[in-house]
Structures are given as structure tokens and as C-alpha cells.
Amino acid sequence: MGDRRTVIPFGPQHPVLPEPIQLKLVLEDEKVVEALPQIGYIHRGLERLVKVRDFNQMVFVAERICGICSFQHAMSYCLSIERLMNIEVPERADYLRVIWSELHRVHSHLLWLGLMADAFGFEAMFMETWKIREAVVDMMEATAGSRVIISTCQVGGVRRDIAPELLQQIVKLADDVQRRVKAIEHSVLNDYTIKKRTVDKGVISKEQAWKLGAAGPVLRASGVKWDARMIGYAGYKYLNFEPVVETAGDCYARTKVRFREMFVALDLLRQAVAKIPAGEINVKVKGNPEGEAFIQVEQPRGEVTYTVKGNGTKNLEKMHVRTPTFANIPAFLTMLPGCELADVPVLALTIDPCISCTER
């Protein structure tokens, strides 16, 4: 059988891939024996814009690295600059950042669940989850003015406040989404077809996941209790939550982790609304950033790291972003050998790929 190998290009355009990435799959009959990624279709060179945009304008560039985790990108960037300049962000801004982050997490996981259902032909689920997501996105528009890229973060705090009535509406929305997600819980987690497609597929062990630097739900589905939110940046230091952990490390476990994370996010929303103090939402920023900082933040897809270096001028010297998908690709490549060709789309989706993040 050794000499009957075929190389199949998976992508760059493929029905399950929202963005272009190519995988060169070496197959032996139907089994994948080797996989090699080819990226670079949407490399935009956003990091080098630090040379021409000043550090306040870069917030909006950072936000556009990824569409789905946009607020968290802006927040991570702001956190790193605030760390450099030793800025104390007002407590209310910290809470508002948590609220928008968790709204993003809920809408990202719902979007992912829809795409996942679509990947194995569960159209009804796809429609259902995106319908629920619509309410979350509408709430983002009501609170920030835009649906996904909300541009509310700035160095030193946030740019818009949320009125008390809207905060109450967020609680109502959290309850509503919880009820509607609970209604589909049974059909996602106990469905025969879904289990058949996901259980014991693409297993990575706890040690492997840690050593390969997997991030976010991929890491936690393998039994590693690591969530960057536990570091306690922004308002997370005031709130109580437990990272969601599963031990199986297969596609089903990753689905479960994301599904249960939605409930944690909704709970965090309620906590944040209950505890939010009154006060200022931003502080004035004076001077220019200088020094080096390394910031880890948890996004819906996993942990993002920002490395920034300032040299005392209004332009940073260097900004480097490691996005969650960038960290998950090596884990994904390790999952692939041994699986069937038909499982590759499902495996690709369980790492929740975001290629424009990866290439920046």
C-alpha cells in the first residue's frame, strides 16, 4: 500500500472553510497519513501599520485583525499599551469591557455551532443557532452602535457607556439566550448523527495539547484547565467563574466545551451587570508608550498574545499578535494523520479556524 499515496489539496476554497487555507493531504486510500498547511492567501501586513499609524489609531487596526473576536483584539491591544504606560483604567470601563467581551464570546460560539452543524448537513440547527445569534448581535448594535466591529475600546478605557436600562436588557437577553440554547442542548449533545461524526475523532491527549501549544477550547477539551481569563485582566478579577474542562480530547469534547462556555459567558454577563459600579469610563492618556509588554487574553477561539514595544514616540516600534488559530494549527496537523478524508471538514471546524487572524 505504501506506494499508493495520493495528494489531495483541501482548500483554499472549500464549502466548510469561510476563509482560504490550503491543506495538502497525503492519503493512503481513504486515510490521511500526512498533512501540510499552506497559508498566505490573505496576509495583509497589519502589524507593520504601526509604522504609519499612531498608537491611538492602531486600536482600530487591531480590531480589524479578526471580525468575530474584534472587541477582544482591541481590548488586548489597549491592555498592552495601558500596561506600558501604567494607566489605571476606571472600574466601570473594566466591567464594560467584560460585558462586550462576553457578548462576543456568546455570538462567536453560536456562529461556530451553526457552521459546525452546517458542515455535517444539519441545516435546521444552523438556522436555529444563527437566529439566536441575531439577538446577541442586535444587543451589540443597541449598546455600541455597530453589529460586530463595535469600535468601543480605546487606550485608557472605553468610548461609550451603557445606560442602566440597556444593562437590564442585557440580563433579559442573557436569560432569553440561555432558554433558547437550553432548548437545543439535547439535540446537539445527544444526537446520534452528531455523536457518530464527532466521538473519538481527532483525539489529542492532555500532554500533546499542552506541548503543542493548543489554545482555548481545544486545550480545555483535552483536560488542561487553562483559561487566560483566570489571570484576571480587565474586570475578570472581580468575577467568579470556572473554566470549562472536558477530558476526552475529541471533536465531541470540543463541541461540548464551546457549548458549556456559552452558559459561563451568560453567567458572567449577569454577574457583571449586577456588580457594575458607577463612575468614569475612561481616563485621559498623556505621553507615549515606552518599553516592552507581553499580554495574554482569552478570546472565543482561545488565547491571544500581544507583544508590543514602544520607543517613546507616538508610533510603536513593533506589535506582534499571536492569534488562537495560529496556535491551534500545529495541534490540528497532529490530529489529522489517521483520520478519514470525510472527517477532515469536521476536524477543521472543531479548531474554529480564523485564517485572517492567523495571517494578519
Partner: protein, 122 residues
Amino acid sequence: MFGMLSPILKNGFGKPATRLYPFEKREAFDKARGQLEIDIDKCIFCGMCQRKCPSTCLNVEKAASKWELDPYNCVICGVCVEACPTKCLSLNKVYRTPVYVKENQIKIGKPPVKKTAAKENA
């Protein structure tokens, strides 16, 4: 097996989740960010908006009293609105419609009267 049944029945007999868009429009939210507008008479052509804009879609020329916006480059972040010293910029709630030709918005205003010049005249 019947887990999906209740959502399906609800969807089958309930109200549609979508709107008949062109006939039935959703009201814009209070905070919605639509398009950038300028009250050109109040503008003093200081160029603050141009300097703050992250997408470099604005061009202000003091000598010609010209304020130019490339609306298809604008990301509607609202930084210029916050930065404007005379509050002549604002965001309305109407989203941009598709166009055939992309054209820059050019507004020519009155050159601001210099305070010192006004004093000298008086």
C-alpha cells in the same frame, strides 16, 4: 430524536424570524452609527479630524476651505466626531446604501475669520 421537534414545530407554525425587508424596516437603535455628516458652516478647518482618523479617509485643506471625505474608506468609528473642537461633525443613523460610482464628498465652506485680522479691521 425528538429533541429538535419542538423548535421545528415552533418555527413551522410560528411567526417568521425574518422581516420582509424593503417594505418593513427595523427602526435604527439610538446609538446606531450610520454615516458621517458635517455642518460646514461651523467648521474652522483645523484638520484635527484628519490627524485623528485611523483610516485616513479625511482631507482638510485650510487654504481652500475644503473638507473632503472618502466615505468608502471611512470605518465609521466616530473618532473625528469626538475630536472635533467645534462639534460640527456628527454621525447619523442611516446606513450607507450601495452605489454605482464611488465619489468623494467635498464640502467647501467659508474661510474662518481670523481673530487677529478681525481685531485689526475693527
